[in-house]
């Protein structure tokens, strides 16, 4: 089973991290990644630019409203993700608990990744998506 571990942080989280030495932060994150590599469970991951919180497109009204990120009132930002291949959701949770994250508002969301063969295969758009995935080189 594949799971995505999604890091979430708030302004308070970032403020708390300001005093942490950058090299030290890279080292603890590297150690966590190394542990997952050694355990044979990590199959991917990316970090998102914390300096540029991006933009948010809100579809609540008839015309989409574009605002600067992060996400409205919650001020919550996704700032990276890992892809894990493990035997159960509980195992993904155990790995998430070991992530070197701390501080107010710092969170991790754990979601199972669906596989293409879970969708109805005779659907025209599922058929098309298979072609796109091939073109994009994504799973």
């Amino acid at each position: 089973m594949k799971f995505m571990l999604i890091m979430r942080a708030t302004d308070e989280t970032f403020a708390a991290y300001e005093n942490v030495d950058f090299n030290e932060m890279i080292a603890v994150m590297g150690k966590f990644n190394e542990e997952m590599m050694n355990a044979g469970v990590m199959i991917g991951g990316e970090g998102l630019d914390p300096e540029d919180p991006g933009v948010v497109v809100d579809y609540s009204s008839e015309t989409p409203v574009v605002t600067d990120g992060p996400y409205g009132e919650t001020k919550e930002l996704f700032n990276g993700f890992w892809m894990l291949e493990v035997a159960s959701k509980e195992e993904a949770v155990e790995w998430a608990k070991r992530a070197p994250m701390q501080g107010p508002g710092s969170k991790m969301e754990i979601r199972r990744v669906t596989e293409i063969d879970e969708f109805p295969q005779d659907n025209e758009w599922v058929q098309k998506e298979k072609g796109w995935r091939e073109q994009l080189g994504t799973a």
């Binding site: 089973m1 590599m37 050694n38 355990a39 044979g40 469970v41 199959i43 991917g44 291949e85 493990v86 035997a87 159960s88 509980e90 195992e91 949770v93 155990e94 790995w95 596989e115 293409i116 063969d117 295969q121 298979k130 072609g131 995935r133 091939e134 080189g137 994504t138 799973a139």
Partner: protein
């Protein structure tokens, strides 16, 4: 090591679902940590069988205590300390009976199994010890390295839990009788011992990949576990080309899983598979592992060559687009390294794709002398005869293949071929 964020009121709230959650959490933790815990205890006691016994006792204790009292803040330290205490008890009992036995050092235990990479590797080698049958090696590896329960192993192999337990008990006795201890192989035996470890991982994978999708709901994902073990090995032994080769083979083979059966669960031949269903991220990982195997600089071995063949298919957009001459060359190399009629048959199929059925038929005829009663040989021969327009002979050969075939699904494919004959 108090309960995690729970006072008395929290403990009292623990109902059945909380107990189940705690149990699942223990099992997940065990999957992640069992190899390091058992390896640490085996290093401490010098005895894998004893280490496994006391680790299981610690696990059983955790399964009783944690749902009731909460999961300790540092569960790994708890399991290690408990296991170590049980080991000391066991040694005391033994040395009371025999005062020639040494006492274990009862000094403070390290809280964390630091720098245990070598121990985990020794664990793998010991679980695949030459004194054990392949069946016992597989069961013991899944138990001590993979952290699977007897129940999970039983469900994966469709045997009873009692059978698995008996297999593991016997394996532990054999290790004791062979005085296997807990040590890394000597350099002169490393090659053979590594081959055994890789073969065990491969057996686990093939057992897992033969499960149909319906089975997947109840059977433990052995193919996934084999991939995990191969990744662990690749981290532990980066200088061994065949470790990377095996990982590459498993990833590239797994990439085809989504396309290997149709909606009725019937097998789909490689040539008929919807290649858009292949898992591209698995293909990328497999190709990366294959490059690692090549970078070692000793050429490709048994698994690496099979991975290179799988790569030829993985990168081809269709059967026609496949570099069949390269596939032929790779099968030739494989046949030189590990001669077998099955490799020869596959080489013949590749030759038929690269150069046509006329060139391939003599090769298949030669294989047929070695394997006169193989439905696969008869099936390939029938297919070549069909392509040569020798329909009557093709029909006879395909009918013979049907009569020799013991597998329902493969028989279905053969019947389909017969029905398609002009």
């Amino acid at each position: 090591m108090g309960p995690e964020g729970e006072g008395l009121a929290g403990a009292a709230r623990h109902g059945l679902s909380e107990q189940l959650d705690a149990r699942r959490r223990v099992e997940a933790l065990w999957r992640i940590e069992s190899a390091r815990i058992v390896a640490g205890l085996a290093r401490y006691t010098g005895d894998l069988a004893l280490a496994e016994d006391v680790a299981q006792e610690a696990l059983a204790e955790a399964l009783v205590n944690w749902p009731r009292e909460g999961v300790p803040r540092d569960p790994v330290a708890w399991l290690l300390t408990t296991g170590r205490r049980r080991a000391i008890d066991a040694f005391r009992r033994r040395s009371a009976l025999d005062d020639r036995l040494p006492q274990l050092d009862t000094g403070p235990a390290p809280d964390r199994p630091d720098d245990t990479d070598d121990d985990v590797l020794t664990l793998m080698f010991t679980a695949c010890h030459p004194a054990l049958s392949r069946e016992a090696q597989v069961a013991l590896t899944l138990r001590v390295v993979g952290g699977l329960t007897s129940d999970e192993i039983a469900r994966a192999f469709l045997v009873s839990t009692a059978t698995v337990q008996a297999r593991i008990t016997r394996a532990k006795k054999s290790l004791g009788a062979a005085e296997a201890g807990f040590r890394a192989p000597e350099s002169d035996e490393l090659g053979a011992r590594l081959a055994a470890v890789l073969s065990v991982v491969y057996v686990i994978f093939t057992e897992g990949s033969s499960a149909s999708s319906g089975d997947a709901l109840i059977r433990f994902d052995l193919a996934g576990e084999a991939r995990r073990l191969a990744r662990v090995l690749a981290r532990l032994m980066p200088g061994e080309n065949e470790v990377h080769g095996l990982l590459a083979l498993l990833e590239l083979t797994s990439a085809r899983f989504p396309a290997r059966t149709d909606s009725d669960g019937e097998p789909v031949l490689l040539e008929d598979q919807d290649r858009r269903l292949w898992d591209d991220s698995a293909i990328r990982r497999g190709r990366a592992a294959l490059r690692s195997a090549e970078r070692v600089g000793r050429g490709l071995g048994y698994y690496g060559l099979q991975a290179a063949i799988a790569e030829c298919h993985a990168v081809a957009r269709s059967v026609a687009d496949t570099d069949w001459e390269r596939v032929v060359a790779l099968y030739e190399a494989l046949g030189t390294l590990a001669p077998s009629p099955v490799v020869e048959l596959n080489r013949a199929v590749a030759v038929s794709m690269a150069r046509g059925p006329a060139d391939a038929l003599p090769l298949v005829d030669a294989v047929a002398e070695d394997l006169p009663d193989s439905h696969q040989v008869a099936g390939v021969r029938g297919e070549l005869l069909r392509r040569l327009g020798r329909t009557t002979e093709a029909r006879t050969e395909l009918e013979r293949a049907v009569s020799l075939c013991g597998n329902d699904r493969e028989r279905t494919v053969l019947h389909r071929k017969l029905a398609d004959l002009p």
